[in-house]
């Protein structure tokens, strides 16, 4: 009965492979392949999605993400500095903001700025503005915490050395601390962009014109117009990967680079 370590490893490998085979077989048997063929993997009918999925869907997703990121990054930096401020009111405001916007669903924020604010103030915002504000304000809350951690990870001696050379506090922050903090937070920041890319799909709750469709809305539109079942959504999903996988690779590259320079 007693097995050597090598035998045990072999058995473990066989068991894992066995579970995998059974799981795959179960899926193959359980799936209704005929329906799947017409309404999930029906690639014959998706021709009309091109080239607009690039020119409208992908383009708008990139634009919405970029707008949200610009606001998120500048707002996040401001909040991070407020959280580290010596003025208590700033710390409280920043903490309150971060807790609130991290705590409520992004979808509700979109609804609030898409419908609530126009109702309350009697103004009509452009879609780009709504995305910029909603996505940006949610992103700012997450990015603020990332940046705060990055700023605090810069050794105290850096600030002391900068101040000893006669730099005012703000100059030491701008020239010495913030550049190093950004290097530290580059990997987590790239992950924030990935989350942002996907969250940009929440804009579907607003009424969009066809030229404003981003990937998800574009895919949903395809469901009703092409008669290929869910296939257009599958295609749209694949296009998200076109954005997010390169970002992931980029984050990994940053990570290995900063690991190498840290001796």
């Amino acid at each position: 009965m007693a097995m050597t370590a090598r035998q045990r490893a072999k058995v473990s490998l066989y068991v894992q492979a066995g579970i995998f085979v059974v799981a795959v077989a179960a899926v193959i048997i359980a799936v209704d392949w005929k329906t799947v063929g017409t309404s999930v993997f029906n690639f014959a009918k998706i021709g009309p999605m091109f080239p607009d999925i690039f020119l409208v869907g992908l383009k708008n997703t990139l634009i919405y993400t970029a707008l949200g990121f610009i606001v998120g990054l500048s707002g996040g930096l401001l909040l991070a500095l407020m959280k580290l401020s010596s003025f208590p009111l700033y710390r409280w405001l920043a903490t309150g903001y971060i807790e609130f916007f991290r705590g409520v669903p992004a979808l509700l924020v979109f609804i609030a700025f898409g419908y609530g604010v126009p109702l309350a103030f009697g103004i009509q915002w452009d879609v780009n503005i709504i995305v910029m504000v909603s996505l940006g304000m949610v992103a700012a809350a997450y990015i603020a915490e990332t940046l705060r951690a990055g700023l605090q990870a810069v050794p105290k001696g850096q600030m002391e050395a900068a101040r000893s050379l006669g730099m005012p506090h703000w100059r030491a922050m701008v020239s010495i601390v913030i550049p190093q903090a950004f290097k530290i937070v580059l990997p987590p920041l790239t992950n924030e962009i990935i989350l942002l890319t996907k969250d940009s799909s929440l804009i579907y709750v607003l009424g969009l014109t066809a030229s404003q469709y981003e990937l998800t809305k574009f895919g949903r539109d395809g469901i009703s117009s092409l008669g290929a079942g869910l296939t257009p959504l599958l295609v749209a999903g694949a296009f998200y990967l076109v954005i997010t996988i390169p970002l992931s690779l980029l984050a990994r590259k940053f990570e290995s680079r900063s690991a190498r320079t840290k001796r």
Partner: protein, 264 residues
């Protein structure tokens, strides 16, 4: 003190005057009324056991630590005056840290130019020229384009000295500059400091290098438990101490293998 190096201008040295300096962290008083004078051009070494307050005293001089009471005068600045222009004062006080604290995202040259261009508003070319001159001065002119993490500890510390010198300081503070170094690189850093002393720089040095203190310091100050126990010319304090506490400390430092063997 004569200025022996032709390439460097005569140092405009500033003196330091400390009176009744007190500093506490909570209820723990680490400086209990320190008075100390460093004349312009003098080299004063602070020695003493760890926790004696010597680093805190040094860090008070350029207000990295805020003293609770007492006065500090550095050249024409009263450091403890709440209205003092701290940034202006610090421009004339060079500081060298135990752990170098070079800016890792900047090249060696940029480490030495950034404060010149951003604070003194020197032109890029003038700042580079000053930086290169000071890197030559510490023997590292050929490493100007490297980054700090590509240098040995001793080289990094010499860059840190060049960085401080590039601001044309009138006083240099050294906080255990060789304590974090590999033994074989200590000598290079001490040689640079010795040269600096010969050029007439005012230097206040916290150190455990007794050989350096004896050879270079005009005066040695022995501190323990937040007070100055003994001070005077180096040969007196190190070679012929009068206070029992100084004797015990020096015996341990100079002959560490005899710790606890003989009770005085």
């Amino acid at each position: 003190m004569n200025n022996s190096t032709g390439s460097t201008a005569t140092v405009r040295a500033a003196g330091v005057n400390i009176k009744d300096l007190r500093k506490s962290y909570g209820s723990n008083e680490v400086l209990k009324g320190i008075s100390l004078t460093v004349e312009p051009g003098q080299v004063v070494c602070l020695i003493g056991p760890s926790g004696s307050g010597k680093s805190t005293l040094l860090r008070c001089v350029n207000l990295l630590e805020q003293p609770n009471a007492g006065t500090i005068n550095v050249g024409s600045f009263e450091a403890t005056d709440p209205d003092v222009d701290l940034n202006k004062m610090r421009q004339s006080v060079g500081m060298v840290f135990q752990h170098f604290n070079l800016f890792p995202h900047l090249s060696v040259l940029e480490n030495c130019t950034i404060s010149q261009t951003k604070v003194l508003k020197r032109s890029k070319s003038e700042a580079s020229e000053v930086a290169r001159r000071n890197l030559e001065r510490v023997g590292l002119g050929h490493l100007a384009d490297r980054f700090p993490d590509q240098l040995s500890g001793g080289q990094q510390q010499r860059v840190a000295i060049a960085r401080a010198l590039s601001m044309d300081p009138q006083l240099m503070l050294f906080d255990e500059p060789t304590s974090a170094l590999d033994p074989e690189t200590v000598g290079d850093v001490l040689a640079v400091m010795r040269k600096l002393a010969q050029e007439g720089m005012t230097m206040l040095v916290v150190t455990h290098e007794m050989g350096f203190a004896r050879e270079v310091a005009d005066r040695v100050v022995f501190m323990d438990a937040g007070v100055v126990v003994e001070e005077g010319p180096a040969e007196n304090v190190i070679s012929a101490p009068t206070q029992p506490r100084t004797k015990e400390f020096l015996r341990r430092v100079l002959d560490p293998t005899h710790i606890g063997v003989e009770e005085a």
